[in-house]
Structure formats: C-alpha cells, structure tokens
Amino acid sequence: MRRLPVYLVLDTSGSMSGEPIQQVKNGVQMLVSALRQDPQALETAYLSIITFDSSAREVVPLTDLPSFQTPDIQATGITSMGEALSLVADCAKRDVVKASATKKADWRPMVFLMTDGIPTDDFQKGLTRFKEERWGAVVACAVDSADASLLQQIAGEAVVKLDTSDSASLSAFFKWVTASISTSSKSVQTTGKEVEGLDQLPPPPPEIQVVV
C-alpha cells in the first residue's frame, strides 16, 4: 500500500513549557483523533513525531494511525533546529519506500515544522541535509518570536505565523494541519496527485497568517 508519510517536527525547547507544550500535546491528540475518523487518512497517513530541544529525537517513528499513541512530550532546553532537520531527513531516507520491482512507492512525505525560537545550533548544516531529500508539502509554523525568514529557507512560501502561543491559535494550527493531511490523503488516493505547495492545501484559518 502506498503510504503518505507525515512528519511533525515540534519545538520542545524550554520556551514552550507550560501552556504551549500542553497545547501542542492536545493538538497532536486532536489531530490523530480527527484523522482516525477520515477513512482515507486512516489508511494512508503514517505519522512520525520528531521533537527538538537541546537535541533532536524521533519520539514516535513513522506509525500508522490505528496504532499511533500520542507521546508524552516535555519542554526543556535550547533549540537544536538544525539537528532536527538532519534527523527528519535521515528518518525519511530510512522510512520512505521508493518504487521497486516488489514494492510500490510511498507518496512523498509531508513535513510540518513548528517552532517558537531561533536555532541555537548549526542551522545551515541541517538545512543542507534536509534539502537532499525529496519532500511533498513542507510547512513551517513560526510561533511568536520565531524567525519567519529563516523558516522560509526550509519551507519556501509555506511559512505560517501564529501571533501568540495561546490555545486558540495553536489549536487552529493543528486543525489546519489535520485538514491538510486529510486533503493530501484524498488527493493521493483519488487522483494520485501529490500536494506540494501551500496553494494546494486548505486555506489556513484566520488565526494563522501566511508569511509572504
């Protein structure tokens, strides 16, 4: 079966602690619950969670939605975004099935990266590694003080901004990510067409600004 790999790359640095990290956790929970109600996403989308603080970790490896269990995430430390970019690239290289005589290829992986900070490590190194892999839609979300122009180097035009890391906007972001995964699952299943840019995703809700 052709899978749609989805990588959620989440900033869990100290500045996210408290309400924001709880909202992120709720957001992931909500995202998984909602996608489980969508028969196409349920079968097609595979979800991985990568977090980064003082280091980057693959908290949940690529997992089908029926088996997915929301991890416990804590916010602490600094912002190793470069390492996270390298890690997600390594994971995709390892996970994503390419077409062969015996296997059909996966769909190109989607990446949703969320951060509220400025990288504290070698960002360029991670970015270079990230660009070596072939991605479907890559969306970066800048929360509060995050550097949107830096994120544009990762996601091109697909950079969105949340004004505050309060519950309403974070929840809106995760709802939108959910809708985007649903749309993409539908697109690949019914038309075989992969979603590549922001314009092919559902319009972001008012809480989210698109950085142009």
Partner: protein
C-alpha cells in the same frame, strides 16, 4: 491492620503447636508495613510455610520476639528498624486490645508466648475490627495510623503510589487482538520499580460487550473488538504475590472498522455527463463469453462523486475479433468520467470497424498470405491498428472539447478529460488465441492460457514515486515512433485459452501490489481462483468487486473474456 496481626499470630500459634517451620515472620510483617495494608493474612502466611521442616523448640521464642518487634512497628507506623524504647508510643495504638498492648510491653522484659499474644488480640477483636473498618471506609475519618504516630506518619495509601502511565496497544474493530499474559503487570511493575516476575493484575475493567476478555489467571487480554472505544480502564495491580492490590488506570483505544467509516453518497444530479455508479454486462460473442462490471470506488462514494471508470465491448463478427476497451478517468480531471466513456467507446468503435473489414484488417490479410499468426508482419500490423484506435480516441476527446455533447458551465480543456485507455483485441484460433493490447496509463490486462498460469499482456507503469501515470490526453504517449509504440503495445499467440482480463487500477493495485507481482504467473492464477466463481453473472462479478482492501478505494472495472463453452460454476 489488627486483623492482620491477629491472623498472623493465630497462624503462628497453630504452627508453633505443630512445631512446623513457617515463612519469615519479619519479612511477612515488613511486607505488610511497606504495603500499608493487610494484604497478608494468616492463610497467606501459612501458604508460604515449609510444611516438611520441623521447627526447633528454641526458635519459638525468637519468633515471638520478631513478631512483637514487627507488630510494634506496625502500631507505630514505622518501616525502619525496631526502636527498643517502644513503650512511649505504644498506647497510641488506641484501638488495640489493652491486654495485647500490655503483653507487648512485657515482651521486652519477660517471656510471652505467641498463644498469649494471640489470645490477647482475640479478646476484644470484634470491637477493634469494626473500629478499624469504620476508619478505613470513611475518607473523612482520620485513619488510625495517624492516631498512632504523628511524627513519622505512615505512607498514605494512594498518593504515594508512583505515577504510572500505561496504554494498551491499540485495537481495531473486527481484528483479533491480544495483550500477552502478564504484559500489563510487567509494564506497571517496570514503571513502579517492582519486580515484574511477582507482579500481576488481578482485575481489569473492560468496556461491556466490547468483544475483549481479560483472563484474571494469566493477565491476558484477547478477543476481537466489536465496538470502537477510546478511554481509560481501571485495573487492580498486585505488586507481589502476597501484596494488597493497588488501583490503576490504563488507556485503550479501539479503532472503528475502517470499512464502516466510508459513506455512500449519491452522485450529483445536475452535473454534466452524469454516470451511474454501477455498470455491468454479460454477453456471448462468437466463441467468447464476456462478463464485465464497473463500480464506483469508496473514495468517490464517500464524497458523492461520479464513477470515472468506463468500459466498452465490441465484436467484429465477420472476422471473429473481440474488442475490449477499459478506461479510468483521472480523479483530478473535472470531466474524466466523460473522458473514459468517450475514449473507450471511440476506440472500440474504430477497432470493430477496422477489424471487421476484410479490406482494412491488415492482420487478416497477412494471415491469409503467411498462414502464421506469429509472422512478424502481423504483429506490426496489429500494433498499427491498435495505435490508430487510441489516436482516434484522443481525437474524439479533442472534438468533445471544442463541441461538448453535454452543455458545460465553462469551456473545457483537453486535460479536463484525462483518462487512461487499455484496448484488447482477441481472436480465437483452434484451442488457443491471438491477443494484442495497446495501453496508455495504469491498470492492466492479462491472459491465462490455463487456470494454473497467467501473464500480463500490458506493461506496468511506474515512476520513482507513486502516482505518476500518463493519459490518453497527453501528446507523449501517442508519439508515432517505434520506441513509443513498443512501450504501449503487446502481442501474443497462445495454444490454449482459459481467460483474458482487462482491468483498471482499482483492481490491479490491490490484486498485484507490485510490478513483480504483476509479472508473476502464480499471482494471475491466484486472481483467477478468486475471480472465477464470481463470473457466473455480471451481478456476482459486480458484488465481488466490492472487496475491501486498505488504501485501494478507486473505481473498479473488470472485463473478463472466457471461451463461450466454459462453465462458470464454482469448481471448488
């Protein structure tokens, strides 16, 4: 606590009377201290005894000392070593029988027997017991432990338990599920730091009638879930063989059956190019019996969209050539349902006309000259005939763009009619057949000379990543050069004929999950075994095509060509 001590004392007394060895009193009672509750009783204690050994008489007094010291710890709520100067705090035991406390005091200075202690405990145990029960049953009542020792209060019963987060592996309705024996207890024990080999779960509260059963003996959860569920389950965890159980929660998710999530919404009634969600036909043409069906995929039914697949069947009766066309309109193209219909009908029509004409059917002309269907020129001539039919279908779509057969709200483009096209022509020769295909896009056709083996008669298409296919509406697949034609054309002559199948990718994707599978004769034979019983009528074929395969919910079209004499009854 008192009932525990009394019970242990009673047991000790019995065992002393029989001079039988028993389990370690201190360990037993310490265990009770640590667990804070009266999980151990005399029976339990007795069960740990070593019935064959005889206890030396001089050990009896040691037992009493140990018992006394441990009991004092219980009364004082201590878990540390015995403090010799216990008397000061002794009377804070409150509900303990006065005679028993006196004996405990005396135990440090004179000999007391275990039977004395046991009797003293029994003296007013009824009132003591009821007082204890009242205390522990009522949350607002101060527990007796606090009355005993205020400086070093004993561990509270619940709040001191380590935080444990355990989630059972997710289940799915209709799929057999198992949590291996002991796995839950092991998970909790690991988080608490208990020894997993002694831990067990004595009770797990599963949702009513959920299809899962918890085996209290082994700790195994097994069954096939019947209803979705997402929540927490309460359980009783027993950290070690003789300990008191501790309540915990574990979470469990039971996914709905994926098949139950799909909706079956009607297609729009006022859109251009309406198409029924199902189509099927069954006909006998010359030496052939043709059973065909096409059904809307779940992905389209779920959103109330049209079926995009189509098929067409024709027969050149003068020359005996059967013509099959199947087409799969691209989901991304607005009017692909019309594209597949127009393309399959146009190609079929063209082929029937050409193949039926003794003048234009060059293959027949060549055969009459060479008397050999495997003559290379026949192959070339059929390639040309089929290519021109595909080209004709392409032009038919172009003319539909400039002159739509159904009024459209806005002008359409050729790519609005994106469709694949597979044409298959077949002629019976003796017991065998000549077959040729021309295919643009995914889906595929195959031939089974006999039920045991089959092979593809179209080439698989595949890009590096999934989802790259070509359409009849694109210029590249129709380029008139040898290399391109070879890519799309296939020709074969077989001495036997069992069946030919032409399918859209709604069938080939689930039934041939890889290019290697598509090329595997055994896979074709397996498909035939599965399909053959369904070919008794086109209705049964349509029903068979409703099979559920995760991730494969596209429209499905299958045209099966059988010898006209073939029986279609299930053979096994």
């Amino acid at each position: 606590m008192r009932s525990l001590v009394a019970s242990v004392a009673k047991t000790l007394e019995e065992m002393h009377a029989q001079q039988r060895a028993h389990g370690d009193i201190e360990a037993t009672l310490k265990h009770c201290l640590n667990e804070s509750k009266d999980a151990l009783d005399g029976e339990n204690f007795k069960a740990r005894a070593l019935p064959t050994d005889e206890l030396p008489v001089d050990a009896l007094q040691d037992d009493v000392q140990t018992f006394v010291a441990c009991t004092i710890k219980i009364i004082r709520g201590e878990t540390s070593e015995v403090n010799a100067s216990f008397q000061a705090n002794l009377h804070r035991g409150g509900d303990w029988p006065e005679g028993f406390l006196t004996l405990l005091e005396e135990a440090s200075t004179q000999e007391v027997s275990i039977s004395d202690l046991s009797q003293a405990l029994d003296s007013n145990s009824n009132c003591a017991k009821s007082a204890e029960e009242t205390a522990s049953d009522t949350a607002t009542t101060t527990p007796p432990a606090e009355q005993i020792e205020t400086e070093t209060p004993p561990k509270p019963l619940t709040s001191s338990q380590p935080v444990v987060k355990v989630a059972l592996r997710n289940a799915t309705v209709g799929k057999p599920y198992e949590v291996e024996p002991g796995a839950i207890a092991t998970a909790i024990a690991t988080q608490r730091g208990d020894r997993p080999e002694y831990a067990r779960v004595s009770h797990l509260q599963l949702p009513d009638n959920c299809g899962l059963v918890f085996d209290e003996m082994t700790g195994r959860v097994a069954g096939t879930p019947t209803h979705p569920f997402d929540g927490v389950l309460s359980l009783d965890y027993v950290p070690s063989r003789s300990a008191q159980s501790i309540p915990y929660n574990v979470s469990l998710l039971i996914n709905p059956d994926p098949a139950s999530l799909w909706k079956d919404l009607p297609s729009p009634t006022n859109a251009p190019y309406p198409k029924e969600p199902f189509d099927h036909s069954e006909e006998t043409q010359g030496p052939f019996r043709v059973v065909a069906a096409s059904r809307r995929g779940r992905s389209h039914a779920n959103r109330g969209e049209f079926r995009d697949d189509d098929f067409a069947i024709g027969y050149a009766s003068d020359t005996g050539w059967l013509v099959i066309a199947v087409a799969d309109g691209a989901g991304s193209a607005t009017y692909s349902r019309a594209g597949s219909k127009i393309a399959s009908a146009a190609a079929k029509q063209r082929l029937v006309t050409v193949l039926n004409s003794r003048q234009h059917n060059k293959a027949e002309i060549l055969y009459s000259q060479h008397q050999d269907w495997e003559h290379p020129e026949i192959r070339v001539s059929l390639c040309r005939i089929l290519y021109e039919a595909a080209l004709k279908a392409h032009y038919e779509l172009q003319s539909e763009v400039s002159n739509p057969s159904d009024p459209l709200p806005t002008a359409a483009t050729l790519r609005n009619y994106d469709t694949t096209l597979i044409v298959l022509v077949l002629k019976k020769i003796n017991e065998g057949c000549v077959a040729a295909t021309f295919a643009i896009g995914d889906g595929g056709a195959g031939l089974l000379p006999n039920p045991e083996e089959g092979f593809p008669i179209t080439r698989p298409e595949g890009g590096d990543y999934a989802g790259q296919t070509c359409f009849l509406t694109m210029p590249e697949p129709l380029k008139d050069n040898q290399a391109n034609l070879e890519r799309h054309f296939h020709f074969t002559v077989q001495k036997e004929f069992c069946a030919a199948l032409a399918m859209t990718d709604g069938i080939t994707d689930p039934k041939f999950p890889s290019d290697a599978a598509f090329a595997d004769p055994a896979q074709w034979s397996a498909l035939w075994t599965e399909l053959h019983p369904a070919l008794s009528s086109s209705e049964t074929l349509l029903e068979w095509m409703n099979f559920f395969s995760p991730g494969n919910h596209d429209d499905r079209t299958l045209v099966a060509v059988l010898p006209a004499h073939a029986t279609s009854a299930p053979n096994s």
